[in-house]
């Protein structure tokens, strides 16, 4: 069966996450977004693990469902058109901070587990090493390679995925805290890594430019810190609905179970360009080179973003594809599209109302963004929104690129364009 999976999320027990980031709300928002399989996040955290044990029950092999007594009370919040079954997979992110080859490395890594026992083993091993009680995404002074070894020792079927591999400060290949190659990071165990997460600031096209990434399949997840951010990126599988099938789809070079990914436009990510957020300096990498990497306001080195970092490590021309390439669909979150169509912010009440209405009348967000016939959207949500989605699907969007922790901003319509579209409509 075909299903959408978002396997990097957090719980309310991670720092800087929403208070309502619990299983019930993940259950609701997964349906609104059109996600069938969602990560639990944070399974190493003892209190969260207790909640998982209490509220989830085994469903398909290696997957879990929210017990009926918890799900029922939430169902009213999900419009009929979005209702679907939701499964959970055990996932966690670890923040590794350590010194290697005389440089401080900060790398985030994901571990996905096939069973509660496997997850508990990981939890026990990490609990013996460091503090796992204070943060759902614990900080450990552990080498990424050693974390990988621990994960494999706990259960050989654990899946280990370097997270958002291009984020400057916290990733395997990041410009500030990372390595120049996956081999440098994972040494003798590199072969046990078979998937990497591209992160919001890069898309597959960028990743294909590195031959060293050829052995890895690219996955995409939201890294959501609140339920409504689920599915900003996701994976589309077409395979049996089970942990083993997912493992196989990622591990086996010939398996076609992973169909492709839904992506942010990479410019929208927080670290696409270079610059200094506080100095309001946003630079294309060429600009950075011109300025010798130093901020024109404060004189300190700018934060080098993902675009520049990819360019630095690339050994293929843009446009060429890697061996394990998959198609991908670039999307802008629906509230942002609606906001663009209305000329107001995505968090405004008007947008939220229109969003709800669309979910109720048309279906879940992924369906609206990627599959729903434009005519249908036009009929139910109006000409401008339909045009916005159409342009988004064609990639006709303008984005002021994100930089140094600041998200990029999407522009689908130029000033005055909205009225023109509405006026044209009035002519008929």
């Amino acid at each position: 069966m075909k299903f959408y999976a978002d396997l990097h999320v957090h719980s309310k027990y991670s720092r800087a996450t929403a208070k309502n980031l619990d299983l019930e709300n993940l259950y609701v928002w997964a349906q609104l977004k059109g996600i069938h399989l969602v990560g639990t996040g944070d399974f190493v955290h003892p209190v969260w693990m207790k909640e998982l044990e209490e509220k989830l029950e085994p469903a398909e092999e290696g997957l879990f469902k929210l017990k009926d007594k918890y799900a029922k009370s939430m169902d009213a919040q999900v419009p009929k058109a979005c209702q679907a079954k939701v499964r959970f997979m055990l996932t966690v992110e670890i923040s590794n901070i350590y010194k290697r080859l005389d440089k401080v490395r900060k790398v985030h890594n994901l571990i996905w587990s096939p069973s509660l026992e496997a997850a508990q083993k990981v939890q026990a091993k990490l609990g013996a090493i460091g503090n796992i009680k204070s943060d759902g995404r614990p900080i450990l002074g552990l080498d990424s390679r050693d974390l990988l070894e621990i994960a494999l020792e706990a259960d050989p079927k654990n899946i280990f995925v370097p997270a958002h591999i291009w984020t400057p400060w916290f990733s395997a290949l990041g410009s500030m805290g990372g390595f120049d190659s996956m081999k440098d990071c994972f040494a003798d165990l590199t072969d046990h890594v078979f998937a990497v997460e591209t992160g919001l600031s890069s898309d597959p096209l960028m990743n294909w430019r590195l031959k060293q990434l050829d052995p890895f399949i690219l996955v995409s997840n939201s890294d959501a810190h609140s339920p409504s951010k689920l599915g900003r990126e996701a994976n589309i599988f077409d395979t049996e609905f089970s942990y083993s099938a997912i493992y196989q789809a990622l591990f086996d070079q010939n398996d076609k179970g992973l169909v492709g990914t839904v992506e942010f436009f990479p410019e929208e990510g927080k670290y696409h360009y270079d610059g200094h957020r506080l100095c309001h300096v946003r630079w294309h990498p060429q600009e950075t080179t011109k300025n010798k990497g130093l901020c024109s306001v404060c004189g300190k080195p700018v934060t080098v973003g993902v675009m520049a970092r990819v360019e630095e490590l690339a050994d293929r021309q843009p446009g060429q594809k890697s061996k394990r390439h998959r198609p991908y669909w670039s999307a802008v979150p629906l509230p942002e599209v609606i906001g663009e169509a209305r000329g107001v912010g995505p968090a405004s009440k008007a947008v939220q109302e229109a969003y709800r209405k669309m979910l109720t009348q048309i279906g879940n967000e992924f369906y609206i963004l990627l599959d729903a016939p434009i005519d249908q959207i036009r009929r139910l949500a109006g000409e401008v929104i339909a045009e916005g989605i159409d342009r988004m699907r064609k990639g006709e969007v303008k984005i002021a690129a994100g930089y140094d922790g600041e998200y990029g901003t999407v522009e689908i319509f130029k000033d005055g364009e909205r009225q023109k579209i509405e006026q044209q409509l009035a002519l008929f």
Partner: protein, 486 residues
């Protein structure tokens, strides 16, 4: 002369010296271990086939480290015996047990074995055993020794005393000297009188002693370490040549200058280009002090969220938090815990499963876990011999430095040296923090700053979140008191 490269002038002299005993006075960060291992390597070729070098270290960990370095310098393992005084003496007792008053299967008792004796009594006996060559007419001592022997035990201190007794046998002493023609002793400032007596016996018949240490880092007087032995070296080991290592390769220049000022104007030469940064911080309470320390760590490590990452370039293992008393650890530990910053407290090695000599010998040492990086929490004593890019010394307050709380009163000079040892652990960044109000032993203390802080020149200190003191301290304290009234 490949083995002599990588040495400065005074180190070179120390390595090449021959023909007499040698005392190397080596300040912190002056390449002590480097020099001593090079000197050992340099001497090996002059040894006859049946001769060896004996190298005595302060801890088992230091012994392992030295062995590694010697191996790297190409010294064959069978030419150098490296170990602590206790390890060496226990080996002597095992090798020559027939000549001792001990049974063949004697065991070294660990503290948990000893039953039915008061802690204070055991402490008094322990101190006596490490400070007196002869103990007479002490009934508690006699009872305790009888108790040990009845169980076929000797205790940790007895290892040295029994070895000393064994070496009174001239035949055995002769054998040992014939084997070990060169003896090296590290951390000489912390040797006690029993160890000194052992060395005097071992260095007859032409066996030469190289002692290395720093009287300014002597911090174990309370358990029998005797810094006076340093001054007496000439008398104990006649004909000695004395060399001083002054070039410091560890600490940034401001930190080194401040450390020297605390010791009343030592002369050490900073060899690093960096100035470093010495920050003093006064917090309202121990909790506020902990907040300050942890926020600084978050800034440096920046692991906690994306935005705090800016400019962060330290890893967890770069950082140590030092304190005078373990009791100070609680508040800072909780603050780190709360923020999810990994930390480790150095602790005694857990009781070994077996009673092997090796396990017994390691029992009193504190050990850090090096597989995983964490912020280190250490007493100033436990920090001896370690170094970190960033060091926080918390509780820089009167009553704590120098220690003078209830019955715990340190020797003021030794307390000063302890503070100096702490300061010289830092390579680049040293924080001296204090709290105006502190909970300790169920009591609230309002302590003024440690008097040691006043010995550091103002220009070297950066005050964070607290105004630099101008003018005499008293008037400003009074001013503050007045401000509080409003």
């Amino acid at each position: 002369m490949q083995t002599l490269s990588g040495l400065n002038d005074s180190q070179w002299k120390a390595v090449c010296h021959t023909g007499a005993h040698l005392l190397i006075v080596a300040g912190p960060g002056t390449g002590k271990t480097h020099t001593i291992t090079r000197r050992i390597a340099h001497m090996i070729p002059s040894l006859k086939p049946n001769q060896k070098v004996l190298a005595i270290t302060f801890t088992n960990k230091a012994a392992q480290e030295m062995q590694g370095r010697l191996l790297a310098l190409g010294v064959p393992l069978n030419k150098a015996l490296v170990g602590t005084f206790h390890a060496f003496c226990l080996k002597l007792l095992r090798d020559h047990w027939q000549e001792t008053a001990l049974p063949k299967d004697f065991k070294v008792a660990i503290p948990q074995d000893i039953q039915g004796f008061d802690k204070a009594v055991l402490e008094r006996i322990g101190l006596m055993k490490s400070t007196r060559l002869v103990i007479e007419g002490d009934n508690e001592y006699k009872t305790y020794q009888r108790y040990l022997r009845k169980n076929n035990w000797i205790d940790f201190d007895d290892i040295l005393r029994e070895a000393l007794a064994l070496l009174e046998n001239e035949d055995i002493a002769h054998q040992v000297r014939a084997c070990y023609r060169h003896i090296f002793v590290d951390e000489y400032q912390d040797t006690n009188i029993i160890q000194n007596a052992l060395l005097k016996i071992l260095t007859q018949e032409g066996t030469l002693l190289t002692a290395i240490g720093d009287p300014n880092q002597s911090i174990y007087g309370f358990r029998g370490g005797n810094v006076a032995l340093f001054g007496r070296f000439k008398d104990d080991f006649p004909g000695v040549r004395e060399l001083t290592l002054q070039e410091n390769y560890r600490s940034a220049s401001n930190l080194l200058a401040a450390s020297c000022q605390v010791m009343g104007g030592l002369e050490l030469l900073a060899k690093l280009d960096a100035k470093g940064k010495l920050v003093t911080h006064e917090a309202a309470s121990d909790a506020a002090e902990a907040d300050y320390v942890t926020s600084q760590i978050e800034k440096m490590v920046g692991g906690m969220d994306m935005l705090s990452a800016r400019g962060a370039y330290r890893s967890l293992g770069d950082i140590a938090i030092l304190y005078r008393l373990n009791a100070e650890r609680h508040v800072i530990g909780q603050a780190l815990e709360h923020l999810g910053i990994p930390y480790q407290v150095s602790q005694k090695v857990p009781k070994p499963a077996g009673y092997s000599d090796e396990a017994v010998l390691g029992q009193f040492e504190e050990e850090l876990d090096y597989n995983v990086e964490k912020v280190s929490l250490l007493t100033l004593h436990a920090a001896k011999g370690l170094e970190f890019p960033v060091v926080f010394i918390i509780g820089c307050e009167a009553k704590l430095l120098p220690l003078d709380i209830h019955a715990m009163k340190g020797d003021p000079q030794e307390e000063r040296r302890l503070f100096y040892v702490g300061m010289t652990r830092a390579r680049e960044h040293l924080y001296l923090t204090r709290a105006r109000r502190r909970q300790l032993f169920g009591q609230t203390w309002f302590n003024p700053p440690s008097p040691f802080l006043a010995d550091i020149e103002e220009d070297l200190k950066v005050y964070e979140n607290s105004k630099p003191r101008r003018g005499p301290r008293k008037s400003e304290e009074a001013e503050k008191q007045q401000l509080k009234l409003f």
